[in-house]
Amino acid sequence: EKLFVGDQVLHIMASNEEHITLLRVLGEQEELQLDFWRHPTSPGHPVDLQVPFPSLQAVKIFLEVNNISYSIMIEDVQELLNEEKKTMKKSRRV
């Protein structure tokens, strides 16, 4: 089973076309193993990006250097998944 310990989902706000292009380029870097939950479309539309723990530092630095604002939507993906599993188990018992 694939675990997502420490993975985060970043909620990114691109404010111009250049940011959109930069985000697309970022997504093409296969070694980072990024997964767009919401793809970059146009300025003003939020982008949600799942970032594996080992790539977090590089991605956050990239965003900050390029002045692209973001917040953390999900602090730890695995924690949510564990919670989801627990809820399903409980429901099945009931």
């Binding site: 989902v9 767009f36 793809h39 998944l81 989801e84 429901s91």
Partner: protein, 309 residues
């Protein structure tokens, strides 16, 4: 004795549980609901469709599907609630009754069963099918980029490792081909609604080109009414419009294929986003999501009933 009244609609379920529930729904509403198999998935799982029909041959029909992207768990969960609602409301709610007295409804609750099973066993965040790709170690095709509508254009990927990989050719995925064959074979499907999550949108064609569809104004007005009625319950705000104008250019999507194949009313729903959970929407949100979506679905279905073509 089995009953849908003991089924927990407020919980997420495995594929086996959902398939078992389908049989229970059929058992409880034998004169209205039946289960048909339209094909097999890549890993040979049955592709089941619930058929709601009050009889009569060759009726015009509505097609609904949920779960084409495996990780969007809220969509089959909403589908289960909605299918149950349709069955329960026939004979009670005048709109549902009127629809089913004239039209059949076909509802594929788990459109991508291999992917869905994989999200329960190996990778909760899997999106694609599970077919292998010659010459690549990466698995799966995005089943919503695999349709023959602008297939291969710029709004999808040719890279098998991408989440939006379109596949080697249009309808290469069994899960897609089964629907294509079914809708083509039926010939009287008048409405297609494909349900996704999670960006609160109601979209219509086109996604693969910027030109508006000839029915743009009507679809836009209908979408406007639907999202307005959806918002009435909890104030959830949806945007609406053509796919290309509202989100991005996307080639090879199911609703574009449906429209180009004579289904005038083709919509793609993106269900609610709390802004906190994305695809991991807690199960406590299932009922509110399904409940608020219901009036919008009903608006669209009633409109199609009242505007035959």
């Amino acid at each position: 004795e089995r009953s849908t009244s003991t089924f927990d609609f407020a919980s997420y379920h495995t594929l086996d549980e959902i398939y078992d529930w389908m049989d229970i729904l059929v058992d409880n509403h034998p004169s209205l609901v039946s289960k048909i198999q339209i094909g097999q998935s890549y890993e040979n799982r049955p592709l089941y469709v619930l058929k709601f029909s009050t009889g009569g041959p060759n009726r015009p029909a509505i097609w609904l599907d949920t779960g084409i992207h495996a990780r969007e768990w809220i969509t089959p969960a909403t589908g289960i609630w909605t299918a149950n609602k349709i069955a329960e409301e026939y004979g009670r709610d005048p709109s549902v009754t009127a629809i089913l007295d004239s039209m059949d409804i076909f509802f594929e609750i788990v459109t991508n069963p291999d992917g869905f099973a994989f999200t329960h066993s190996n990778n909760r965040l899997w999106r694609k099918t599970r077919s292998t790709n010659t010459g690549s170690h990466c698995i799966g095709v995005d089943p919503n980029r695999n349709w023959d509508a602008g297939f291969g254009g710029s709004g999808s990927s040719s890279n098998p490792c991408s989440e939006t990989y379109r596949g080697p050719y249009a309808h290469s995925e069994r899960e897609v081909k089964a629907i294509v064959d079914f809708i083509r074979g039926h010939r009287k499907v008048k409405l297609v609604i494909s349900i996704h999550s999670y960006s609160q949108m109601l979209l219509f064609p086109y996604g693969y080109k910027t030109a508006p569809v000839p029915d743009h104004q009507e679809l836009n007005e209908l979408a406007k009414k639907a999202v307005s009625d959806l918002a009435a319950l909890y104030g959830t705000k949806y945007t609406y419009g053509s796919m290309v104008d509202t989100i991005y250019m996307a080639d090879g999507t199911s609703i574009d294929w449906a429209y180009d194949n004579g289904v005038k009313y083709a919509f793609s729903f993106e269900l609610r986003d709390t802004g906190r959970y994305g695809f991991l929407l807690p199960s406590t949100q299932i009922i509110p999501t399904a409940t608020e979506t219901w009036p919008a679905l009903l608006d669209i279905m009633v409109h199609v009933l009242e505007h035959p073509y």
